[in-house]
Every structure is written in C-alpha cells, then in structure tokens.
Amino acid sequence: MERALRPAVEAEGVWFAYRGEAWVLRDVSLAVPAGGMAMVMGPSGAGKTTLLKVLAGLLRPQRGALRILGVGVEGGVPPSLRPLIGYIPQQLGLVRNLTALENVLMGALGRSRGVGVLFGLFPRPEVERAWAILDLLGIRHKAREKVIHLSGGERQRVAIARTLLQRPKVVLADEFVSDLDLPRAAEILRLVRQVGWREGITFLMNMHEVQLVQEFGDTVFLVKEGRVLHQCPGSHVTWTLLQEVLR
C-alpha cells in the first residue's frame, strides 16, 4: 500500500541536452503523484516534449536522478519495467498501414513472445480485451479500417486504446487530445480518467487547453525554458497565473 502512495514519476535535479546541443532541461525536479492526471503546460519550445520523453525513460538524462514507479532509471529502463510505462507521442506513433485493431493489439507485444504473434495471431484474451477497449472508446466500428483512413480524433482514440491494452501503471502523453474539439477532448479525458481510477493508472500529459487543465488537471506543472517554474492544482490555473509565471 505504501508503494501506491509513492510518486509515480520522480525527477531530482535532472539535466538533459541532445547530443552536442544546449541544455533543454535545466535542473528539473518534480514528483508526479500516483493516481490521477498530472499536466504539463508551457509555451512552445519550453522543452515539454523532451521532458515527457525523459520522464518516460526514452531519453537518458545527463545529470540527476529519475525514478519511475519507484525504480531508478537514470541508466536506462529495465525490460521488466518497460511494459508498465505507456507513452503516446505527439503524432501518436501509429502504424498507418495496419488496421485500428492491429495497432491496438500491438499494446500487448510486451508480454507476447510466441511465434503466432508474428503471424498476427494474438492470444484470445488479448483480442477480446482489445475489442472491449475499442468499444469503450467508441471506435469499435472502425476496428477493421486502416489507420490511414481514420480521422484525427479516431486515431487519437486508437493510440489511447493501444496504451490501455498495454496495461501500464503510468502513461505519459504528448498533447493527448490536441486533434479534438473541446467537447470531444473533454469526453475522452473523462473516459480516460475513469479507466485510470479503475485500473490505478497515473497520467502525465502535455496540455495547452486552459479549460481542460482547469477541469481535469489534478496537478499542473508550468514549464518554461527547460525549468519547472510552478506547481499547483489545475483548478488554480488562471490566465493571470499563466501570464505571471510564463511571461
């Protein structure tokens, strides 16, 4: 039980730069509380995407300490931890030439080592679960369509479905719902929040829509020039605050 109360993701004095370039993250320290939705806000070029990649263990920080689900990952993510970390990139990272269902099933690859999978034959429970998730997200009728033929909003749901099938404990999403109009985005966030509560998933996402941050952000990190400048609950985020902090 104590483990669950620990922060899902913790960074202490993290510095990161791409090879041979200037620092993108400067001395970032933050703790993402377990459960609920944390959000990162900041102007473009603030290093939000890089921050998320580092926190997801996809990029190794040059300095500082990083713990995901209580495991130190500065030197790389151990393979056993990998499937517990969901990551949704900005462009979603879907395979366009495969169907929505196939893309979702890829979420199960971390625990699928058999030969059958290589022929597209996933274990029955995984397939059933994939259908259930597609159903939950309201895109069951698009399951057999290739991703390239889906709309932006549908693709977003496929990416979310893939991550949910992965059964992660923490999900890091870069601009989670950027392709959706506000009502749609709110609907998806509500759904995802429910699933998160039910399955004990912590979400950390980049978000630029103030209204969504106010309604859904349990913890908000305001980021500028590679530093975390302010942390507060989403309900405290106002235009005035943003202007003051991010000015």
């Binding site: 990998r82 949704i88 990139p89 979603l92 395979v95 366009r96 690859l109």
Partner: protein, 253 residues
C-alpha cells in the same frame, strides 16, 4: 545564383569535351552512322512472322527467368535489408550486411550470368541465379535505406510498449515500408525483364540467344519480330505494374 550558373556551365563544358573525345563532332563519322542507321531500319521491315513460335517460346523463358530470379532475390533482400537497418542492429551487424550488399551490387547481372553458366552450365538456371543475385544487390540496399527511413516516432512508440526487435520488423518496419517495398519490387521486375533479355548472349537462356543469333547472321527481319515481341512484353509488364500499384498501394483517402 551565380554559383548555379557556374556549375551548369562547367557541366556543359565537361559534356562537350567528353563527347568530342568520343568522336561525336566528327561530321563524316556521324554522317556515315546516320546512313547506316537508315539502312538498318529499312532492313528490319517487314518483320518475318515465321519465327514467332520460336520467339514466343524463348520470350516465355526470359519472362520465367526474370520472374523467378526477381522473387528469389526479393526473398533474400528482405532479411539482408533488415540487417542493414541501423536503428535495429548495432554496427557489427549492419556494416557487414551493407558491405555484402554493396559487394554483390558491383557485379553486373551479365557477369553473374557468365559465372553461373560456368558453375551450373548453359540454360535458364544460370540466368535465373544471375538475376537473383543482381536483384539482391539492389533491393537489399534500397530496402535497408527504405526501412531506415521509418518514422522514428512510430518505432519509439512501439518499442516503448516493450516490443522485441522481431516485433518491430513485423509490425512497424514492414507495414510502414510496404508501399516502397512493393513499388521497388515492381520496378525491379520490369528492369529484370529487360536485363534477362540479353542474358542469352552468354548462353544463360531466354530470348537473348535469338537476338544475338539474328544479329550475327544479319537476319534483321527476324530480329524485328523478336524486338517487337520484347517491346510488347515490356509494355505489358509496365501495364501490369501500373495495375498492381493502383490496386495495392496505400493512398490516404
């Protein structure tokens, strides 16, 4: 802008010098050539249709060689191409794979055919193997580069799930590259039909033998029949390729 002009001018001068060295500007020689070309063209007509059955049979063999050779080469190129992908394998794997591909590529199909005639004897088997190796050299290089161009975000996303290397190849690299794989395979098949047409010159089977024989015995009217047949097949292949592309290539709707 001025640098562009300078480069263009330089290339123009180089072209002129090279052509001059090869005798392009010798009026008498070129004039004689034109007369000969006219004579040759006149001798081609009318095509001698009596050789059609022989020619068709030989043509069929050529198409078979091209088809089998291309597919064999294709099947070998896929794994070799994958082994050359730098985001999947470390240098000690990609480097030898790419080196092997480059080495196979330096030898022209005709030379491979000669080698295989020596090894397996006269006939279409030598031609098929020659085509196959030539195809491996080209397709493995094209595929390695194509696979390497896979959207890194997709690779990152699926790798983040905990997918293995084999999973990445099967679920990301192949599907994302499918368009290019198919397009280049079709191109290679069309190309190999033309290439295998001359393999008969060295006894490696197919219509090349007839081409060579009719040229050497000055039977140009028969040669014309063979050339027309070749033209027909190549055009047919291109039409088939176009159909496959329209039918199977991925297009966003």
């Amino acid at each position: 802008m001025r640098r562009d002009l300078l480069v263009m001018g330089g290339m123009g001068v180089a072209l002129g010098v090279v052509l001059g060295q090869m005798g392009f500007f010798e009026g008498e020689k070129m004039g004689r050539g034109l007369v000969n070309a006219g004579r040759f063209a006149r001798d081609l007509f009318p095509p001698d249709a009596s050789v059609t059955p022989t020619a068709v049979k030989a043509m069929l063999e050529t198409v078979q060689m091209a088809f089998a050779g291309t597919l064999l080469g294709f099947l070998l190129s896929l794994p070799l191409g994958v082994l050359g992908v730098r985001f999947l394998f470390p240098r000690p794997v990609t480097y030898p794979a790419r080196l092997l591909s480059a080495w196979v590529r330096t030898v022209p199909a005709l030379l491979w055919a000669i080698l295989f005639v020596i090894v397996v004897g006269l006939g279409p088997l030598a031609g098929t193997l020659g085509i196959a190796l030539y195809t491996v050299g080209y397709l493995s290089k094209l595929y390695a580069d194509l696979f390497e161009g896979t959207d890194p975000e997709v690779v990152e996303a699926v790798r983040g799930v905990g997918a293995s290397r084999l999973h990445l190849v099967r679920f990301v690299v192949f599907p994302e590259g499918a368009n290019g794989v198919l397009a280049q395979l079709l191109f290679m098949l069309e190309y190999n039909i033309r290439a295998s047409a001359i393999l008969g010159f060295v006894g490696a089977g197919g219509i090349g033998f007839l081409l060579q024989a009719y040229i050497q015995t000055l039977e140009y009217q028969r040669l014309a029949t063979v050339l027309l047949l070749l033209l027909g097949v190549v055009l047919g292949m291109e039409a088939l390729g176009g159909w496959v592309r329209r039918r199977f290539l991925l297009t966003p709707s």
